[in-house]
Subunit: 197 residues, 2 copies
Amino acid sequence: MAKTRSETMQENRVKLIAAARKAFAKKGYSAASMDELTADVGLTRGALYHNFGDKRGLLAAVVDQMDTEMAARAQEIGARADDVWQGLLAEGAAYIEMALDPEVQRIVLLDGPAVLGDPSQWPSQNSCLQVTKTTVERLIAQGILKPVDAEAAARLLSGAALNAALWIAASDNPQSVLPRAVEAFQALAAGLLLKPV
Amino acid sequence: MAKTRSETMQENRVKLIAAARKAFAKKGYSAASMDELTADVGLTRGALYHNFGDKRGLLAAVVDQMDTEMAARAQEIGARADDVWQGLLAEGAAYIEMALDPEVQRIVLLDGPAVLGDPSQWPSQNSCLQVTKTTVERLIAQGILKPVDAEAAARLLSGAALNAALWIAASDNPQSVLPRAVEAFQALAAGLLLKPV
DNA sequence: AACTTGACATACGAGATGTATGCGAGATAT
DNA sequence: ATATCTCGCATACATCTCGTATGTCAAGTT
């Protein structure tokens, strides 16, 4: 098989992102060495700086990938629900559970915002927020939710969910705390309902 | 006046924390140079490593100070309200407004969690969370809020508030977005009420 | 088949952190 | 009051990391 140049380049990008994802998750962004990271996949920093510009660029690529994965999963879970409202609750619970993954926490929730700034201004647009915002907009249009600002509601909901996850993960007994967090989250979300149950 | 040794030591600690607060806010944690920082107050890194152990220790001291200030302010504002429930709403709005301060954002919301880990496991105990938790507990005891887990509710509320602030600050027109965020926050909080209004 | 391009490797320079050692002014004891 | 000791801070050093500038060789082009 003749490997074309752009093929190997694409492969290398994938390799580097995968290696970075591991390294950033394990050591944290600042402690992750670019020399080690690149050597692990048989390359050098030359490849890295050529493809991603700098260390931040690599993190941005990793975050973009993870954010996309998370948004897709949340959307899928939300779509399986009986109605849109149940879908929103399911989405929130899904975010909480996804954020229990140490990789997600370290990279997307902690280092991501610190290095790249607030998620709403990420280059990748933050797909997670978009998904939630769309769901909220639909519910407002259906007259199920109060006519609050959709973006504000989405931000607050995802902020609450992701913060809950950080708390759960840091607790001594995550499995016992998880249901309480989900319960509290659903209570909060119910505050957006036009007609409380 | 004869300066006792522990006096000058205390003064130096105060100076270093003040300088660090400025430097961390302006450059961010990782880009802040400890050489510059200490030189600004007429000291060297020797003083720093003797007093705070390492760079992280200095950040922890700064975060502790800011967190304490924020908690005191939130508590004071909450206490001025007509009743405990209005106090909770006022606390939330206070957090959102305080988090608009770039210094608070950069240090407490972005670098703090990334470097020190989740706020709930900070050495300083995170006074902000304690204040909110206490308020929630009181409201539950009074039968005003649903009997959800107080810590979970506090975490979610403060998470929502602080995330809202990050979003507001990153927006083009913070002053127009602020009221929408506060409105959405209060709608969410109302979800915790036992008897919806 | 010669030439050009560009993806990646190599080499270098500029800081930054943390530690180990040194010093000198306050604290202590006689 | 003098001598000794303590310890808070300064100084010097070793190590590591990022980003850039330059080199190189295979893939693409004509």
